[in-house]
């Protein structure tokens, strides 16, 4: 049975879709069977970031409404044969997502894949709550900036109350992915420090992804950044984060600094 991950944030534009694609591709490159599901109904973008936009035949809403079979809607990546995409609908709205429909789809995907990565839309409405509903693990994507941290705190609250895991009295495994981290601004002291964000949100750190042109370049050509240039700084950060998801304990380097994090902030038990 595969693991279901939700990539969520509350705030928009922090890097959820970029991270979903990059982590999905990183896991699939190691031979894991991965499906990345776009929950951003009405404003899909994961297909573009993964370079599959010309090959979309059916989408999540078609499957939920019974207009297409799940296997017909899955698109296999052109580069990695264990990486699949389930696109969101571009023309229908999110009211077409039913709780039962989503449950059936996620249940079937868990049977067939090692990892089911749900790319959540921004906000705390239906799309976002349905994306997190069946998760085993949550990745909270946060930028080192006040409104993003505040929204992440709100999302953590929802993860601990509105998910199936929470309702069953279980603990949701939560990880913080700090993205768009700018070492120059950090050095000037104009950006929240990693320690500050960790202290405020108090969930373990999965990785720190630097602000980088490589992310823009990858999305321009339609490739997850971990496949576009696997030696680039953001790609390395995502590859390490993927290994931590699989249970490896790797030290986390802070971009632009010599010191790193180990033990104190990273540890699965803290969640």
């Amino acid at each position: 049975m595969g693991k279901v991950i939700v990539v969520t944030s509350g705030k928009g534009g922090v890097g959820k879709t970029t991270s979903s694609a990059a982590l999905g591709a990183a896991l699939a490159r190691d031979g894991e069977k991965v499906v990345v599901v776009d929950f951003d109904v009405g404003l899909r973008n994961l297909d573009l970031v993964m370079g599959a936009e010309r090959r979309v035949v059916y989408d999540l809403v078609n499957v939920i409404q019974g207009e297409a079979k799940l296997t017909q809607a899955l698109i296999r990546d052109k580069r990695l044969e264990t990486l699949y995409l389930l696109p969101a609908s571009q023309t229908r709205d999110k009211d077409n997502l039913t709780a039962e429909g989503v449950e059936t789809v996620i249940g079937a995907l868990k049977q067939a894949f090692d990892w089911v990565i749900c790319d959540s839309p921004a906000g705390i409405e239906r799309g976002a709550t349905l994306a997190m509903r069946h998760a085993d693990i949550a990745i909270v994507v946060t930028n080192p900036e006040v409104s993003s941290v505040r929204d992440s705190d709100r999302i953590i609250g929802l993860l601990d109350s509105k998910t199936l895991k929470a309702e069953a009295g279980d603990r949701m495994e939560k990880h913080l992915l700090l993205t768009r981290y700018d070492p120059v601004r950090a050095q000037r002291g104009d950006m929240l420090k990693v320690d500050d964000v960790l202290e405020i949100l108090s969930i373990p750190l999965l990785g720190i992804v630097p602000e980088s042109m490589d992310v823009l370049r990858a999305s321009n050509v339609g490739s997850p950044v971990t496949l576009a240039d696997e030696r680039s700084a953001p790609a390395v950060a995502y590859f390490d984060a993927a290994r931590r998801l699989k249970g490896e304990a790797l030290p986390i380097a802070i971009p632009g600094e010599k010191r790193g994090f180990f033990g104190k902030f990273f540890g699965r038990k803290v969640a």
């Binding site: 573009l48 090959r55 979309v56 035949v57 023309t91 370049r217």
Partner: protein
């Protein structure tokens, strides 16, 4: 960052522009309901459904939307009963 790597890379913006032009042309057609590929897909599947049960594993549909041409591939596994033929 390695400078050599930086300069050896080609620009990515032209690729973004080309991808967007193709995608948006197709999306606008879809909104105006004049998307021929989707229409053909649905009509072909309806025709198939008249003659056989459309099974998950037995019918696969692929599309590729291009700037000048698009392709639609409907791959059907058609059941054939050898017993009936021999009888």
């Amino acid at each position: 960052m390695n400078l050599l790597r930086l300069f050896s890379r080609s620009q990515s913006a032209p690729a973004a522009r080309e991808r967007l032009q193709v995608l948006l042309a197709h999306e606008r057609a879809a909104v105006g309901d004049s998307d021929l590929v989707t229409k053909l897909r649905d009509e072909i599947l309806r025709a198939i459904a008249k003659h056989m049960q459309i099974d998950d594993e037995k019918v696969s549909v692929r599309m590729e939307r291009g700037a000048k041409v698009s392709t639609l591939a409907v791959d059907i596994e058609i059941p054939f009963d050898t017993d009936k033929k021999a009888a």
